[in-house]
């Protein structure tokens, strides 16, 4: 059984990675085109995400835990490996830099009309749904795999509230959060739990049972450090000593 804290931390960090872009888009749209339609767009987007989480959660709860862990473990393993790879490449290239750049909606036209601004609504809605859909799938599948769906939802929602709060109060600070490093940490965590659950689902016995999870985590974290160093050396044109 995976502990509640592991579920909270993993889903919190995974949601934070996507929430940074989500909040950047929403704050950009709100600041340039006005807040009323943007907030309605955000609420509509979260409505769609909430329905997705409920439907997906109900569907996954109906599957027995053995096959569920195999399917979810394999999914998280493949998906986590992608973030692991991207995280290594980005941290090697950019270190702890945030997403930087100018506001994505900074060039949007100012809205001076009355009533609903459908452009602002659509931009905010699209930002929330597109950035949030991956989070919804990760949160539900991770929560179902760990049998801690409630904890996973709390972790995911908590990250969106905290990053959203920072975005509203300190607009530019959100862009300085080291998203690549967060993505790497989440990639390592998802790959670790994905490996563990997929093999458990196949009926494989881990040496030490659940105690092998920290062992896997250490191996994958060391792998990340090794490949970051290697990528940096490659970028600098250095060759390993013979």
């Amino acid at each position: 059984m995976t502990g509640l804290w592991a579920v909270l931390i993993t889903t919190f960090l995974a949601s934070a990675v996507e929430a940074i872009e989500m909040v950047t888009i929403v704050v950009g749209v709100g600041a340039t085109r006005g807040w009323r339609s943007t907030v309605i767009g955000v609420a509509s987007g979260f409505g769609v995400l909430a329905v997705t989480v409920v439907i997906l959660g109900a569907a996954l709860s109906a599957i027995p835990i053995g096959p569920l862990r195999l399917v979810i473990g394999a999914l998280l393993l493949v998906f986590g490996l992608q973030w692991f790879r991207k995280g290594v490449m980005r941290v090697a290239a950019r270190g702890l830099a945030g997403i930087g750049g100018s506001d994505p909606q900074g060039d949007a036209d100012q809205w001076r009309g009355v009533g609903m601004d459908w452009t602002a609504w659509f931009l905010a809605f699209k930002g929330v749904v597109l950035e949030g859909l991956e989070v919804a799938i990760i949160v539900v599948s991770f929560g179902a795999g760990a049998n801690q769906l409630g904890g996973a939802v709390i972790g995911g929602v908590g990250a969106i509230i905290i990053v959203g709060g920072i975005g509203l109060l300190l607009h530019r600070t959100v862009r300085r959060i080291p998203r690549s490093l967060l993505q790497l940490i989440v990639g390592v965590l998802l790959t670790t739990f994905g490996t563990f659950w997929a093999l458990e689902g196949l009926g494989v016995e881990w040496p030490g049972g659940d105690a092998s999870i920290p062992g896997l985590l250490v191996v994958y974290a060391a792998t990340a450090l090794f490949y970051i160093t290697l990528e940096r050396n490659r970028a600098l044109g250095l060759r390993p000593a013979a």
Binding site: A74, V78, L199, P207
Partner: protein
């Protein structure tokens, strides 16, 4: 393409990008690794080491390929 089909294609594209992503060979290696692990396990051979080994080596291969492409 009319709406119902274009939606199905869009959902399929999203799921492919979401699950498989930039490098399909890593997903394929994991799938093959899981099948091999199942075969070893059915034959009572210790198999927990195979997937971590595939993860570590495929990551290295994929990163090397990406940095060669970038040059």
């Amino acid at each position: 393409m009319p709406p119902p089909f274009s939606w199905i294609v869009a959902i399929g594209r999203f799921l492919y990008n979401f699950i498989v992503g930039d490098d399909w060979t890593m997903a394929a290696a994991v799938a093959i690794g899981l099948m091999l692990t199942a075969v070893l396990n059915v034959n009572h051979i210790v198999a927990w080491w195979l997937i971590p080994l595939i993860v570590v080596s495929m990551l290295g291969i994929s990163l090397r390929r990406a940095s060669r492409k970038a040059r």
